[in-house]
Structures are given as C-alpha cells and as structure tokens.
Amino acid sequence: MKIKIEHGDYEENEILLRCREVDSEIMRIIAFLNLQTQKLSGWKNKEEITMLEFKDVYYAEALEDKTFLYTSKDVYQTALNLAEIEGRYESLGFLRISKSVVVNLYSIHSLKSALAGRIEIILKNQEKLIVSRHYAPLLRERIGL
C-alpha cells in the first residue's frame, strides 16, 4: 500500500482512501481514523457535557435504564444505550462481555481464564470485569483465539 501526503493551502485537513475494494486493511485504517476523530459525549451533570475520546473510555455499563461510561478515574452518563455503543463502535474495539457491560478491548491490561468458561478482565486501571460464559466465546473469537 502506498502512502502519499500532499501539502497545500487547504482549508481543512482531508484524508482520501483509494482502493480496489474495501478489505480488512482498509477497514482497519477507517477504524483507526475513526478512533482519532470521533468522540463520545458524556456528562456528570447535565450542565456540562464532556467529549470523551474512545481510547479513554474503558467500558460502558447499563444500570437500570441509564448507561454509564467509565474512564480510568471518572464515570459519565451517556445518552447512548449499550446496543448502540456495541453496534456503532465495534470496529473501534468495543465488545459486549455481559448483558450489562460493553468493554473497550484496547483498555484491557490482561485476561485471566476463570472457572466455568468465564474470563476475568483486568483493565489498565486495575479494575476487574467478568466476561460471562455466554459472551466469552465472542471475546475469544474477536481476539483470534
């Protein structure tokens, strides 16, 4: 794959991808670009909305009918539900690991096999999550195991 960078008097930075077909390589590039440009909105109180970079969101959790985004230290509420986070941002590394949690695979420090086919996740902030037996095969498949 060739990489060309054209310098010029452009109003806005622009990235143009030319390809014969949208294959996995192109998809990864798009996912990477999305990762750099998209943000998730969340709030602690509704008067102040924070734009969160995806890499900073460790996981999302649904509690009752609300969804919360967890960063290394903070918790924000978001308007998106888990299905939307999972569906829209799957290519950015978000994966459902239980009925109520979607995790960012890039925020995982390590994994540990647990009893009864479950997997324990240790996040980069040392917080722990459990991948339920139902979702563990999906995680294994996603990371290519």
Partner: protein, 145 residues
C-alpha cells in the same frame, strides 16, 4: 458497589466448587445406596454433605484468592490437598456417610477422592494457566493491529 461486586464474584466461584463437591459426595453415596439395594439418601446426610462442601469451598477460596504470588502456588496446593483430605475423610467418618461400605470400598473411595482432587487441581491451575497465556498473547496481538 465494588465491595458488593467483589463479594458476588467470590460467591459465584465458591458456590461452583461447593456444588461440584456436593454432587460428587451425593453421587458416590447414591451409587452405594443402589449397590446396597436402597433407593434413597437421608435428608440429614444431604445437609451434612452440603455444609461440609461449603466449608471446604470457603477454605479453598481463602487458599486461592484471585491474585497471589505464583511462588506460593506449591505451598497453597499442599495445604489445599491436606485440608481436602482432612475434611472429606474426617466428615465421612464423623457423619458415617460410608460406614456400611467394606474396607476395600473405603480404600477405593479414597483413591477416587485423590483422583478427583488431582483433576480439580489440573483443571483449575494448569488448564486455566495455559488458556490465560493464550488469551493474553492473542489480546496483545489484537491491540497491536
């Protein structure tokens, strides 16, 4: 909330081991009842087996917490084997679970107990360790993509 989650996860793990031990005890008592021409197990015996299994599973979870120094594995495993033998055999003698079994049958049950403990140890500490290594290798490969 974190304390509750921790306690909940501990309860899940502990109860799984407790269930395995209880089912094994009931199974062998059931086989003996059938061989003796009976078709029932006393409720008191079921309660004794369940409580003994619970005590063993609780001690086991204390011996093998979520995280401990790998160098302690051998010492903890030896303690676990001693504890299991003492409590299983001690409870069987105390509550007379297998008092009507001939000596050769008791010896056979002890051999099965040791085999079962080995299988548990292998399943929990060897197979899981191998899978944990594979999970982390694939995770890190995924994160580098």
């Amino acid at each position: 909330m974190k304390e509750f989650t921790h306690f909940y996860r501990w309860g899940l793990n502990m109860k799984q081991h407790m269930a395995i031990y209880t089912m094994a005890l009931i199974f062998f008592r059931g086989v003996i009842e059938v061989l003796l021409g009976h078709d029932s197990i006393s409720i008191l015996m079921l309660v004794e087996m369940t409580l003994t299994s619970m005590v063993i599973a609780i001690i086991e979870s204390a011996l093998f917490p979520d995280h401990f120094d790998e160098s302690e594995l051998q010492r903890r495993t030896i303690l676990w084997v001693i504890m299991c033998n003492l409590l299983f055999i001690g409870a069987a003698v105390l509550f007379q679970w297998f008092a009507d079994v001939p000596l050769w049958g008791e010896c056979l049950l002890i051999v099965i107990l040791e085999g079962g403990l080995f299988a548990m140890w292998f399943g929990v500490h060897v197979a899981q360790k191998i899978e944990t290594r594979a999970l982390n290798q694939h995770l890190h490969d995924f994160q580098k993509q």
